[in-house]
Symmetry: C2
Subunit: 215 residues, 2 copies
């Protein structure tokens, strides 16, 4: 088992865990790979293969123990602890994140916020003091944030990501529409809404072209 695990596998593991927690809440004891596969649109074989990279968690003829698999997946995904987030850029997206209770509920706590805007610095947003950029390093060190979130304009995103990395974060989530390259093994995930919309635009145009030429 366990070589290099693909992003898509990890993504699915998260989805399985979500479903398992729901099942746990309603008191289910066992679940089969096919039940587990359904919500993520995967197949039962894929569920079993995904899990097999990490060990053997099921009972043949019976399925998986819900509680047991929840704990196993939490351990694999690093979700048996909570993570601290440092947010850079308290604009539209940054504020939305701060106000989104879903993060803290799932173990991701925003513990520090930064902005360049003098009007914002020193004020509080959702109970969190907004620091100037110059305090990035010390505040991140003191707060112990492990994840940096870049919610700044595109032009400065790369620079901010580099500063976050230097300040010691272990991973970065980027909302600016720019592809940031991983440095020093600090993984970066980008959430690019425009890219998603353009992907949809392609699919709609493609559909139009198909039906257009058929009709």
């Amino acid at each position: 088992m366990s070589g290099r695990i693909s992003d898509s596998t990890v993504r699915r593991l998260s989805l399985y865990l979500r479903m398992l927690r729901d099942l746990e809440r309603v008191g289910a004891e066992f679940v089969s790979s096919s039940q587990l596969a359904e919500p993520s649109g995967a197949t039962s074989a894929q569920v079993r293969k995904d899990l097999s990279h990490f060990g053997s968690f099921g009972k043949r003829g019976r399925g998986y123990s819900v509680a047991g698999l929840v704990r196993a997946l939490e351990k694999i995904l690093g979700l048996s602890r909570s993570w601290r987030i440092a947010l850079v850029g308290v604009g539209k997206i940054g504020s939305a994140l701060l106000g989104y209770g879903g993060l803290a509920a799932r173990g991701f706590d925003v513990v520090a916020a930064f902005d360049v805007d003098d009007a914002k610095i020193g004020t509080r947003a959702h109970g969190l003091r907004i620091h100037p950029m110059t305090e990035l390093r010390p505040v991140i060190a003191e707060s112990g944030a492990e994840i940096g979130v870049v919610a700044t304009p595109t032009e400065v995103a790369a620079e901010i990501a580099a500063e976050l990395e230097r300040a010691g974060v272990g991973a970065i989530l980027n909302f600016a529409p720019i592809e940031l390259s991983e440095v020093n093994g600090v993984p970066i995930r980008t959430v690019d809404i425009v890219l998603e919309l353009e992907g949809l635009s392609y699919l709609m145009s493609e559909a139009g072209r198909r039906t257009g030429s058929d009709a």
Copy 2:
């Protein structure tokens, strides 16, 4: 050329287009596949392969005409026109989207907004009147929105997506942390921040486990 194009290819095409527009702005005339590859982290061969699915756009020995390729990619991706968006849920994320100028700048106009909250209905957010959910169908029909955005709580996301589909949108962008399944060929893309964070959590834990056992 042109069979079924993978999501990752389309994603890269968007990135190429971004770079090409920057190049056009600074007045570059030609660009090579290797220059084009750099910002998206692709290889030159991949750029050429991606483009080859749609035709032959370059000149051997010279590269690609920047202006020509911009127009070609815009056509392929369906970006030579603008798209209208109907937004359902004007909470944190919904408001952030409304206020985000980057969308309109790239040809995605939010033309209609809906919410269940009586306090919001009838008011205006960023110049846009907020409609009650009961008016979904007529307002979408009248506004001609092609893309529906789901920015509601998870519990109602699936139902809203179905209503949007019935109201006639051609694609859906979903921000709720739930996997929605495509119906009637209406493509759905989900932006799931928690999933991204959990992916980062996995990578950080993995890194910890590796160095932990090595040291």
